[in-house]
C-alpha cells in the first residue's frame, strides 16, 4: 500500500473566514483546525480528541457544522467559514453567548466555542427546539466538566429570546 515518501508541495487556498477573504499557503492535507489556529491565529476552535468525537474544534463550513480536525484544508477552498471569533458578526451571537454567561454554560471553557457553534447551527435549522432537539443538536459536543444541564438551559433560553424578538 505504501508509496515511496514524496514531499507534497504547498498550494494556495482561498476562503472567507468570518466574512474576511483569506489566502494562505498550505499542504493540502493540513487540517482546517491547524490552519485556523496557526496560520490565522484564530484559537477559539480547540483540539480536544483530534478524531471527531468531542466537537471542541467545531466550525461552520458553508453553514454546515463540521469538526475542523477532520477537514483537509483543500476541501475548504472557496468556502465560507465561521468560527467562534466571527460569531459576533452573526445575528445569533448575543442571545447565545449572553445565555451561556447567565446560565453558567461555560466552566473550563474548552468545549464552549464548539457548543455555541453547534447551537447556532441547531437554531438555524430549528428556531424553537425542544429539549430532545437540543440534546441531539449538541450530542457531538462533549463537556468534560459535565455541565450539560446549564448548557441545554442556555440554548433554550437563547432560542426563546430570539423567537420572542
Amino acid at each position: 500500500m505504501n508509496s515511496s515518501p514524496e514531499r507534497s508541495a504547498k498550494c494556495e487556498v482561498s476562503f472567507l473566514v468570518n466574512g474576511k477573504e483569506q489566502k494562505i499557503l498550505a499542504h493540502p492535507m493540513e487540517r482546517l483546525l491547524d490552519v485556523l489556529r496557526n496560520a490565522l491565529g484564530l484559537t477559539g476552535a480547540k483540539e480536544g480528541c483530534g478524531e471527531g468525537e468531542c466537537g471542541s474544534c467545531s466550525v461552520l463550513l458553508d453553514g454546515m457544522l463540521v469538526n475542523s480536525c477532520l477537514v483537509p484544508v483543500v476541501q475548504a477552498s472557496g468556502a465560507s467559514i465561521v468560527t467562534i471569533e466571527g460569531i459576533s458578526l452573526h445575528d445569533l451571537m448575543n442571545p447565545l453567548q449572553q445565555a451561556f454567561l447567565e446560565c453558567g454554560g461555560a466552566q473550563c471553557g474548552i468545549c464552549t466555542p464548539g457548543m455555541i457553534l453547534a447551537a447556532v447551527h441547531l437554531l438555524e435549522k430549528k428556531p424553537e427546539p425542544k429539549l430532545d432537539d437540543i440534546r441531539e443538536g449538541l450530542a457531538g459536543n462533549l463537556c468534560r466538566c459535565t455541565g450539560y444541564m446549564q448548557i441545554f438551559e442556555a440554548v433554550a433560553k437563547a432560542a426563546q429570546r430570539r423567537v420572542a424578538k
Partner: protein
C-alpha cells in the same frame, strides 16, 4: 506519532473520469477521501498507510439522490444529513434514515457518507444492516466500466470487500417496495449518540392473518461482516408468531452469529443482546400484525 502533512498528497480532480483514471493508472496507490470522518482519524493518528489521496467530496455525480419509479439511487458521497432530510427516504426507507440519525453527532452526519460507511467495511457500521434488509445493490465504477453488486456480496471478511483497486462505489440502489412493511431498528451502545454499537439490528416484516409472509433481519457487530439472518428468516416465514416461535428464532439467531470480545463488549453480552433484539422485533411485529 502525528502525521506530517508534507508527507501526504491530496489531489482534487473535480470530475469522476479524472478520479477513475488516477485510480486505474496507479492501482492501490490512491485512497479516495470524501467527508474524511474515517480517513482523517487514521491520518491524524499517523496510521494512514496511503500517502496519496484523491478528493471525491466535490464530485457532483456522487452527491445526487435520484428517485426513480422503482428505486432510489443514492450517490456514494451523500451524507447522513442528506439521507435524513430526504422526504422519500424517510418515508419509504425509514431504517436507513434512522441509521443515519444514529451515526455520530450532527457534525459527523454533515460529513460522513453512505459510500464511505460501506467502503470502510466496519462490521459495527450502523447503516449496513439496513442496506442488507432492503436488498441494496451497489454500482461499482472504473475506467473498465461499471458493474452491479448486491450489497450482501460486497463484504467478504473483516474489513475485506470485492472492490477492485481501480474501482469506486458510485451509488447505492434501493428498491421502493418495502414502504408497507413493518420496520424496526434498534441500536445498543454505551450512549445513544456518537457511540459505536455493541449490537444493532434492522428488521422488516409483513404479517397477514397472524402469519409471517416475509421477514428480513440483519445484525451489526456480531460477526466479521454485517450479517443477514437467512436461516432464521426461513424458519420464521409462513409461521404464526407465538412464544415458541420466538424461542426458535432466538436460538437460530445465536447459531448464525459469530460475536467476539473486543473493547466495546463481550461475545457473551452480544449473544444475549442479539437474541433479545430478535425477540423484541418479533413481539413488535406480532403486535403490528394484530392491529392490521
Amino acid at each position: 506519532m502525528r502525521a506530517d502533512p508534507a508527507d501526504y498528497r491530496l489531489v482534487s480532480p473535480g470530475n469522476l473520469q479524472a478520479v477513475l483514471s488516477l485510480l486505474a493508472n496507479e492501482p492501490a496507490q490512491w485512497l479516495p477521501i470524501a467527508g474524511g470522518t474515517d480517513v482523517m482519524v487514521l491520518y491524524s493518528a499517523g496510521k494512514l498507510p496511503n500517502r496519496k489521496l484523491i478528493n471525491i467530496w466535490n464530485i457532483p455525480e456522487l452527491r445526487r439522490i435520484e428517485v426513480l419509479p422503482d428505486r432510489i439511487r443514492i450517490g456514494a458521497a451523500c451524507t447522513y444529513t442528506a439521507l435524513r432530510r430526504h422526504d422519500i427516504i424517510s418515508r419509504e426507507l425509514p431504517l436507513l434514515a434512522t441509521a443515519a440519525s444514529w451515526t455520530g453527532g450532527i457534525a459527523n452526519q454533515n460529513r460522513g457518507t453512505l459510500g464511505g460507511n460501506i467502503a470502510n467495511a466496519s462490521p459495527a457500521a450502523d447503516s449496513l444492516p439496513a442496506l442488507l434488509v432492503y436488498d441494496a445493490e451497489l454500482t461499482l465504477i472504473s475506467v473498465r466500466g461499471e458493474r452491479q453488486v448486491p450489497y450482501r456480496n460486497f463484504h467478504t471478511g473483516y474489513k475485506k470487500t470485492v472492490l477492485a483497486a481501480d474501482e469506486l462505489i458510485r451509488d447505492i440502489s434501493l428498491l421502493r417496495r418495502f414502504s408497507k412493511y413493518f420496520s424496526h431498528a434498534r441500536k445498543v451502545g454505551a450512549r445513544n449518540a456518537q457511540a459505536i454499537s455493541k449490537v444493532c439490528l434492522a428488521g422488516l416484516g409483513q404479517v397477514t392473518d397472524g402469519t409471517i409472509r416475509d421477514v428480513r433481519l440483519a445484525l451489526g457487530s456480531v460477526a466479521p461482516v454485517p450479517l443477514r439472518l437467512d436461516k432464521t428468516e426461513q424458519l420464521l416465514t409462513g409461521n404464526k408468531i407465538d412464544p415458541s416461535l420466538i424461542d426458535i428464532a432466538r436460538k437460530s439467531a445465536l447459531k448464525e452469529i459469530r460475536p467476539i470480545d473486543d473493547i466495546r463488549s463481550t461475545a457473551r453480552y452480544r449473544s444475549a443482546v442479539a437474541g433479545n433484539l430478535v425477540a423484541e422485533f418479533l413481539e413488535k411485529l406480532a403486535a403490528e400484525g394484530a392491529q392490521a
